[in-house]
């Protein structure tokens, strides 16, 4: 199953992904317990590709990538757009 991770070189920590993930009760995006408090994705909870909400709101190009391929998912490629 494909999964996502944050590229911290590109992420601006705006936390839109955190907000949308929490609002739809998936709660896969969390704040890491380290002094920088960076955003991470819990692969056990993330339902990608079933849900692509974080990709739709992320403003920073290349900041969310597919783990296996390293492919940038921001802006979302056409196949990521789906009807809910």
């Amino acid at each position: 199953m494909p999964s996502l991770k944050i590229d911290h070189q590109r992420c601006t920590e705006c936390r839109m992904c955190y907000i949308v993930c929490r609002e739809i009760d998936i709660n896969a995006v969390y704040v890491a317990l380290e002094p920088l408090h960076r955003i991470e994705i819990d692969l056990q909870k993330c339902t990608y590709p079933g849900c692509t909400a974080c990709l739709m709101y992320c403003p920073a190009e290349g900041s969310i990538v597919e783990v296996a391929t390293g492919r940038s998912m921001v802006p979302p490629p056409p196949e990521a757009w789906q009807e809910v």
């Binding site: 955190y18 929490r22 609002e23 009760d25 709660n27 380290e34």
Partner: protein, 245 residues
Amino acid sequence: MADLPGKELARELIEKSQDESRATPIEEVIQAIGNGGTDGDSADRLIGRLWTLERMFYYIYGGWGQGLEMNDFPPSVKYLFSKQIVDESTHEMIYLDALLKRGFAPTQKDVFRHPYGAFVLDSALAYYVFSLRNLATYPHPIRIAALNLGPKIIELGWMEGLAEALGDAELKGVFESQFVENRSHINMGRRIVEEFVHKPVEADLCRWACAVAKRDYGRFLGELSAFVLGREAPAPPAPRRQVTD
């Protein structure tokens, strides 16, 4: 740096708060953790109430932000305030993440509804929140002195003690990861007081506001400690004051 007008006042407020930081009702919780007298429910109670307080800072700072005007302070003061708002938001997220990860509740909405996470008007927590919100009408350096050189220093003190006592690595991380930001808020407060509190009347207002904030924070900590230890003791009555206008 030596001739900053509020330097002596900042030092005075910091030293007083540091002296009080390890004499709060939370010491009982720290002792209970050390003696193995707490369980998972105690942790849920602690984090639930701390989350409730953290999310109320959106309300407190919302009021404070309205008291900032164009050109009243240099941009650095407003930057430091906005950074503090972001950090407070981060801490709110950390507590909520911890509750959800612990399986305390399945969703954020459930935590809002749960008695451990619900905001209750008739509580020392609410009293402290409204006490801070009331500082919205005071000049920014005074309310920053009240919070950052008062309850923030006390919070850092008990939180360091708590983190040291905790055995659960995840729970320890919840508190330890906040230390840098908490120290930063204290330093921000020190800087603002040092640079912008000039007149004796302002210094007296800082002392008064800081004492009030610490008194009300102490009441909250008393309520929190009793709640975590399952005592459910009512908070001591709030001091009454005649309103004359």
